[in-house]
Symmetry: C2
Subunit: 160 residues, 2 copies
């Protein structure tokens, strides 16, 4: 396989940018994701790819849930900050003084995002350097109006 | 769950538009997809959601492969035409007189797309009204330069 062609064509794939959160027994995690997609209307299902080293991964597994918050177009800086790993950034909820709303399931969602969907994990798959979760949307809330932040507009190549 | 909130937040997810092809024993299928994402760098893995009624689905299963061709920004009309089901559109390769290049694996790729990646299926999952394939990129080729077509720019809500 031609590695340049592989890289070039895969970079032509279009993505949005999302804050993904999870919580379990008082511990909270949040990171910036772009590798996710809806995969079914009925029931509403999503796949999400999470790096194996993610500190939020054990929280998703323990709680069986995660929350997807599409960033608004003006949140580029926050999307970058939430992309830093916890071992360097610390507890991002605290250090970034994140405004949070609580979902009905008791999970944290970003108050300044466009909205959120709470997803209940149905299955997970090993996928190379990552774990892929298949999850059902069980709760949704609109938080603000506006356009979503895209990878292209943010100038990011990969968020996580 | 609030159905309006569910619909509104899920529509804030950002997608590209892709021609997906598959072939088996002389039969060829092609459709327009937007529910797909890379999920791993090493090895390079992709997930693709395919509707259960898709006429290309049996070709993907029989061959164990599919080809993803990101549409160029100017291919909105073609993306719409390839989104029509085969039982109404007939053999879209013939009726649309599609210019095709053959991959090293012998599969058809759209000659006027930005490029293509050939994906070998590693696993499939039941996902509500769709089937989700996890597949490894085994071949890639750049065909032209330009920006990719996005769902938002095309004004589409869902392609398949």
């Amino acid at each position: 396989m031609d590695p340049l062609a592989k890289k070039t064509v895969l970079r032509q794939f279009t993505y949005g940018l999302y804050a993904v959160t999870a919580a379990h027994e008082g511990e909270r995690g949040v990171f910036t994701a772009n590798w996710l997609s809806q995969v079914s209307f009925e029931p509403p299902l999503i796949v999400l790819s999470v790096e194996r080293e993610s500190s939020t991964l054990p929280l998703i597994r323990a709680s069986g849930r995660f929350v997807v918050c599409p960033f608004a177009a003006h949140q580029r800086e926050l999307a970058g900050a939430l992309g830093r790993p916890k071992h360097r950034a610390g507890d991002k909820f605290a250090t970034l003084n994140l405004a949070v709303v609580e979902t009905a399931t008791g999970d944290p969602a970003l108050a300044d995002a466009l909205g959120y969907v709470v997803c209940q994990v149905e299955a997970e798959m090993q996928a190379g350097d990552s774990i892929v979760f298949l999850a059902q949307v069980i709760e949704a809330r609109i938080l603000s109006e506006g356009d979503p932040l895209t990878m292209r507009d943010a100038g990011f190549r990969h968020a996580g």
